[in-house]
Structure formats: structure tokens, C-alpha cells
Amino acid sequence: MSALIPYPDPIPLPAPVWLLQAFLMLTLFLHLLPMSLVLGGGTLTVISELLARRDERHRRLAQAVARLLPILVAFTITLGIAPLLFLQVIYGPLFFSSSILMAWPWLSIIGLMLLGYYGYYWHSFQFERLGPRAVWVALVSTVLFMIVGLLFTSNMVLMLTPERWEALYRAGRSALRWNLTEPTIVPRFLHMFVASVALSGLGVALLGTVKRKADAAFGGWVRQYGLRWFVAATWVQFAVGLWFLASLPRSIRGLFIGGGGMETGLLAVAIALALVAILTIQRRLVLGTAMILGTVALMVIIRHRLRAAYLGSAFDPATLSVRPQTAMFALFVVLLVGGIAAIAWMVWQLARPVDPRTE
């Protein structure tokens, strides 16, 4: 099974594996938030635009979300670079191999993102002019980003299942392969997608809270509407999550239902947090949001444990050689803090009310 896994790079890793994995998980968590808002937000916009003829409030909501989508895509892409960087340096032999096996579909992500991104810009800037046709633009862009998500899911699974590689490689040299027959891919994608809708519902609710200041009636409605999506999607998630769990290979599944103390414990806490959030979020929106962010963070750790369980001893990053570049790492941390400060300052400048165009 592991005979095809390429040898690790002869050049040692520039930092200890635990540090790289910590940054992988941290940056993945940050990426997942705007990513979810793009996928789920696009979906909710399409639905609101379909309902706009019956209810003017839906048109207003769709327009407000449409304005945010291009910025959210920029955040998603930017925050997606870092986790992929750490993933490639730790798991390169797995990731490069699986990517090459599905090279054409994998490369198509670039084109799909470009089209989807321009679509959201068009949708945002020309919302009024497009009128009822706007929904088609939003729909196409959202579907394109969904395909990107599905491609990511399938590659992330393919890199963990080297036993499937040989058959795929022999199947043809065109690299048009797309590993969709693995039983866990569809529920794994849906798990992410439903989470995206839930998080976007939460995002809409927060947007409503902001809008309440200018227009109490509309803001209140947006808040309630968003919360309904959050609660509904999270209930659905219990079913989808169960399906995903059931689709995992037996030995791995066992870890999450009692077999592994750490895995089972983390999963139980994550589910409990989500349950409490559903029940209390009507009254305590900020607290509920914090709990859901906690669930997402735990899920990132659980996902990491799942990866380790898949790989077993076939590929153990702990065995890789390390030669730390401490000065460069320190420089990175300093610049990261400075960069975050610069971004925070700029966003604060944009957000604070100022008499426009005066000295």
C-alpha cells in the first residue's frame, strides 16, 4: 500500500513538525470562516433572490450579501494559501501524488475560482442593472465554488488513501481522473457544505444585528431569518455528520465512537457545544456564535486526528528530519503581528465615521 508514497524530501523541515501542524490548523480555521460564508452566503443569496418577488426584504438582504461576497472570496483565497503551504511542506509526498493523479480536475480549480470570483463581482456591481437575471449570475458562481469545494474534498481524501493510487494511475494517463467513487467523499463534502450554510445563517443574523441600528424592523427580520437558517442547518448537520461518520472505514470510525479517548472526547464536546448553541442562540447571539466558533476549532483538530488515523504508520510526519530556521520563524511571527495590526488599523479607519473628503 505504501510502496508508492514518494520518499520525503532530502532537505530537512525548517521547523519542528508540531509547530508546522499547529500553524496548519490555526490557518485552516481562519480560512474555513470566510470560505463557509462564500459557499453558504452564495446559496442564501440565490434563495433570497428567488423569494425577492414575493418579499422586498429578501431583495434587500440579497443585495447586502451580494456586496460582501467578492470581499469574502478575497479573504478565502488569501487565508487559504497559508494552510496549503503548511500542508504541502509536511505532507508533500501524499499531497503532490494525489494532486497529480487528478491533475486536470485539480488545475481546473484555478479557472473555476476565476470565473466564480468575477461572477460575484459582476453580481455585486451590477445588481440593480441585472434585475431578475442577477440570480442566474449568483447561481453559476455559487455552483462553481461548490465544485471547487468538492474537488478539495476529493483530493484531501485521495491523499490519505494511497491504496487507491495504483488503480487510478493505471486507469489512464490523461489525469482526467476524479476520485468521486470513494464512499466518504459525498458525505464529507456535504458535512462542510451544511456547516457553511449554518455559519452563513449566523453571519446573516449578525448582519441583521448591525442593520438594526439603521432600520430596526428590517434588521430584526434579517436577524431572525438568519437564525432560522442556522438552527435548521445545524439540525440537518446531525444527520449528515452521522452519515459521514458511518461512511468512514470501520477501524477509523471506531476511534470516534468510543475506541479512542481523545477522538471521542473531542467529538462529544464539539457536538455538545453545537447543541447548546442551538438552544440558547435566540437569546444570546454573541455567546452562541462564540460556541459555534469553538465547535469549528474543535472540528479542525478532529479533522487532524482523522488524517492521522487514516495514515497510521504509512506516513508519519514525526519521523521527518528537522533543521529549524529559528531566525526566519521569529521574523515571520514579528511580521505576522505587524501585518495583523496594519490590517486592523486600516479596517478601523474604514469603519469609523469621518466627514468625507476633507483634510
Partner: protein
């Protein structure tokens, strides 16, 4: 050979990366210089108290966001995607050496993207000073991200002291890092002028148009003065073989290197006598033509920069096919198939020789060559007999300085030669009878021979590793033609 191979039909992996990279470079350099253009033009508007200029800068910033933030960012990710698919070993090596440099570049990139958004959405919400500050933050972080990538990119051609010390700073501050940084900075400023000319040419109002066209045209000036010096400095620091390839060693590379200089000169001359001297007569088609020349210069220059790095992907460390020099000896001793992971044959037997040859093509040739497309081997070996191909394989790196040597056992080399010889059935006759048939077939085809040779000619022209005419090889090896070619050329006489 450690990784699976993605064979891209028709264009090949290098071209695939090239197409994405050239488009990205054209936009990414604009992303840097254009930031400076925005802030300086905005400041100019305030100083001259000219609301019309300000309105133009505002419009230009929308164009900037749509080109830079979307296409620039996504195509940059696209380069990363494509190098990982085409050259996974080299990508992995670069990641291991430069992980933190890339992480730092990512921080600059993130600030750059955020600043661009705040700048664009802040026209009505920020006061002048803050708005300009955000513009400066954009430009400085964009240039710093160029600074980081430049260190990584130049390392590939001139790894310098890193080859012995393996120290990060030796890799980053490699011999061509500074001249290349100067060149790229100048190109950024020039491209900002070129894009500025496009938006300025679209201004309907005559006075403003003339003013902004002339302003944008002056942005080409620094590059026209500094680029020749920076270029000469850069060339003086590249490896001797790379210099030789670009100055006569390979006809195609030499032509492209010449084109880079000639097109740049044409661009600056046109820009001087056109928009700079007569801004009022400047129009959009002219602007697009200049931009197109700019894109061509970017294309040929980046292509030459990639081509001169052969036979390496990381000079002196890793060959274009992903095999490191350190692995070379073991492969020669124990065989390439045994060392490779993703091959269907491990030992060569009589019944799997051709399959083994195909495997060897995949792991040693496919990173630069296709079978019958761009840089196609079918064209390269056309008319060559198996023995001559085998002779060529024995002396690849000497006969063609820009190709890695064949690495493997003698049996493996012969298997590859056998497979290559069968790419063109008629030119590798198995028996006298077959030879006669193929000769007759050749005569019958002779009427259309010219047209059929066209792809071969095109393939050879764009292919730096295949000589336009095979005969000079004999001169270089000092062997009589018949001996050097194994008599292959006598077959059709």
C-alpha cells in the same frame, strides 16, 4: 521519479506553467508598480487641486482592483498549482528551503490585498491623508512581496553558496537576487505606465486625456534608462552555460533573447514618440498595441529566463526532470527503474522492454518533452535509427549541453532507445524488406513532404534541446558523419 508523472498532451508541462506564469507576471508586476502609480497620481491631483484627475484615479482604481485582486491573485495561486503538478520534486525542495520566506510573503500579500480593498472602498470614507497612507501601505507591501518571491525565483538559476552551506540566507541573497530585483522593480514601474496609458486613453475629455496620457508615458522612462544596465549586471552573474545558451548556443533561445531586447526598444521608442510627444493624438487601440508589446516582452523574457536554466530546475542541485545530482550515481549503478516509485516495470525483460522504455521516458524526459506535441520526441528522433538514438542517449549532456545526462543502466538506456525508435515506425526498419516498403512510402509522400515537415520545423524551432540540423553534432564530437550517426542518414540515400 519519486512522484507520479502528469503527461500533458500537445503543450507539455513547461508550456503549461509558462502560459499561466507569463499572464501572472504581466499582471503581478503591474500590481506592484500600479500601486505607486495610484498614490502618486492621487497626490498629484491634490497638489494641483484638479478634481478631474482625482476622478480619473478613482476610475483607474476600480480597473486596478478587478485586474490585480482577482486575476493577479488567482493566477498567482495558479502558478503554485501548476508547478506542484509538473515539478513536484522541485516545488517540494523550494518549500523546504523557503517555507518561512513564503509565509512572510503571504503576510505581505494579505496586507496588500486588505490595503487594496480599503483603498478602493475608502474613497468616500477616508480623509485624504489616511487614504494616501493606505495607498502607500499597499505599494510597500506589494513591493515587499515581490522582494520575497524574487529571492526564491533567482535562487533556482543561481543557488550560489547554498550549494555548499545549505544556509537560508545564502539561498536568498544569491548572486542574481539584487540585479533581478532592480530589473523587476523597473519593469513594475514601466508596466504601471502601460496600464495607465490604457485607462488614460479612454478618458473622453481632451485636456485631461492629454495630461494623463503624458503623465503615464513618463512612467516608462526610468525603465528605459535602468533596464539595460540591470540586464547587463544580471547577465554577468548567471552561469556561463546559461549565457552561452542565450547568446548563440541555442538558436531559439538566442532569437527570443534578441526579441526581448528589440521589442523593449520598440516599446520605449513608440511610447516616446507617441503618447509622450503627442499625447493628444493617443488612442485606445494604440494603448492596447503598446500593452500587447509589453506582454510579448514579458513573455519572451520569462521564457528565456526559464530556458537558460537547463539542464537544471535548481542549478547544480536538481535536473529539470526532478532528479538530484546526489541521486545520479546510485541510479547509474542500480538502475533508474529500481529507484523510481511510479513505474510499471522494475526489471527489463525481453517482453517488457518497450514498456520499460516508456517508463523511462516518463521519469526522465516527460518533464520537458511530449511525445508528439511541443518539444516532441517523435520529431526529435525522426529519421534516426535505434543505434544512433542509443549513441545520442550516451552523450546527451555533452552533445546538448542543456539536457541532463541519461541516468540508468545500459539495459535501461537501450530500452529507452528501442522505445524512442518505434515512435516513427518507418524510420526504424526491422528488416530489409520493411526498409524498402518504408522507402517507397516516403517517395509516395514526397509531394506533401513540405507540409508534413512543418510541425517538425516548428517543433524544432521552439525546442532549445533539439538541434535544427543534426549534422553539426558530428562536428562537435569530431567523428565522421557516418560514424557519428551510426549510418542513419545513409538509409534514405
Amino acid at each position: 521519479m519519486n512522484y507520479p508523472v502528469w503527461e500533458i498532451p500537445a503543450i507539455g508541462g513547461g508550456m503549461m506553467i509558462g502560459i499561466i506564469a507569463i499572464l501572472h507576471v504581466f499582471v503581478a508586476h503591474f500590481a506592484v508598480g500600479g500601486g505607486l502609480y495610484l498614490v502618486l497620481a492621487e497626490r498629484k491631483a491634490y497638489r494641483e487641486n484638479d478634481p478631474a484627475v482625482l476622478e480619473y484615479v478613482r476610475g483607474h482604481s476600480l480597473f486596478f482592483v478587478l485586474v490585480v485582486l482577482v486575476f493577479g491573485a488567482v493566477s498567482g495561486v495558479g502558478i503554485w498549482w501548476s508547478i506542484g503538478l509538473v515539478s513536484p520534486a522541485a516545488t517540494s525542495t523550494l518549500l523546504h528551503i523557503f517555507l518561512w520566506a513564503w509565509a512572510i510573503e503571504w503576510v505581505f500579500f494579505a496586507v496588500e490585498i486588505a490595503a487594496a480593498f480599503v483603498y478602493y472602498y475608502g474613497w468616500d470614507r477616508l480623509d485624504r491623508r489616511t487614504h494616501l497612507t493606505v495607498g502607500w501601505i499597499y505599494f510597500v507591501t506589494a513591493w515587499l512581496s515581490l522582494f520575497m518571491i524574487n529571492g526564491i525565483l533567482t535562487f533556482m538559476l543561481t543557488p550560489g553558496l547554498w550549494l555548499t552551506t545549505r544556509e537560508f540566507w545564502d539561498a536568498f541573497w544569491n548572486p542574481t537576487a539584487i540585479p533581478s530585483l532592480i530589473i523587476r522593480t523597473m519593469v513594475s514601474i514601466a508596466l504601471a505606465g502601460l496600464y495607465g496609458l490604457v485607462t488614460a486613453a479612454a478618458i473622453p475629455e481632451r485636456r485631461l486625456k492629454a495630461k494623463m496620457v503624458r503623465y503615464a508615458a513618463t512612467w516608462l522612462l526610468p525603465a528605459s534608462l535602468v533596464l539595460p544596465l540591470g540586464g547587463a549586471w544580471y547577465i554577468s552573474r548567471i552561469p556561463p552555460l546559461a549565457r552561452e545558451i542565450s547568446m548563440g548556443g541555442s538558436p531559439a533561445v538566442t532569437i527570443f533573447a534578441g526579441l526581448s531586447i528589440v521589442l523593449s526598444a520598440i516599446l520605449f521608442i513608440f511610447a516616446f514618440f507617441g503618447p509622450f510627444q503627442r499625447p493628444q493624438h493617443f488612442n485606445l487601440p494604440f494603448a492596447f498595441m503598446l500593452a500587447l508589446i509589453g506582454l510579448s516582452v514579458t513573455g519572451v523574457t520569462e521564457w528565456v529566463r526559464e530556458a537558460v536554466r537547463k539542464p537544471y530546475v535548481i542549478y547544480g542541485y536538481m535536473y529539470s526532470n526532478g532528479i538530484t545530482r546526489r541521486e545520479q550515481e546510485a541510479i547509474r549503478r542500480d538502475g533508474a527503474l529500481r529507484a523510481a516509485k511510479w513505474v510499471t516495470t522494475k526489471e527489463i525483460r525481453q517482453d517488457n522492454r518497450l514498456e520499460a522504455g516508456r517508463n523511462l521516458y516518463e521519469i526522465q524526459c516527460a518533464s520537458c518533452h511530449t511525445i508528439d506535441g511541443f518539444n516532441g520526441l517523435q520529431f526529435a528522433v525522426m529519421g534516426w535509427r535505434e543505434e544512433f538514438i542509443d549513441f545520442q542517449l550516451q552523450h546527451l549532456s555533452e552533445l546538448k549541453g542543456f539536457m541532463p545526462p541519461f541516468m540508468g543502466t545500459e539495459a535501461e538506456r537501450r530500452a529507452l532507445a528501442a522505445w524512442l525508435a518505434r515512435l516513427n515506425p518507418q524510420s526504424a526498419p526491422q528488416s530489409p524488406q520493411l526498409a524498402g516498403e518504408s522507402r517507397r512510402a516516403d517517395t509516395r509522400r514526397s509531394g506533401s513532404a513540405r507540409i508534413e515537415e512543418l510541425p517538425q520545423f516548428v517543433g524544432r524551432f521552439f525546442n532549445p534541446s533539439v538541434p535544427a540540423v543534426p549534422q553539426p553534432l558530428a562536428e562537435r564530437t569530431g567523428l565522421p558523419v557516418a560514424e557519428a550517426t551510426g549510418g542513419a542518414f545513409g538509409a534514405d540515400r
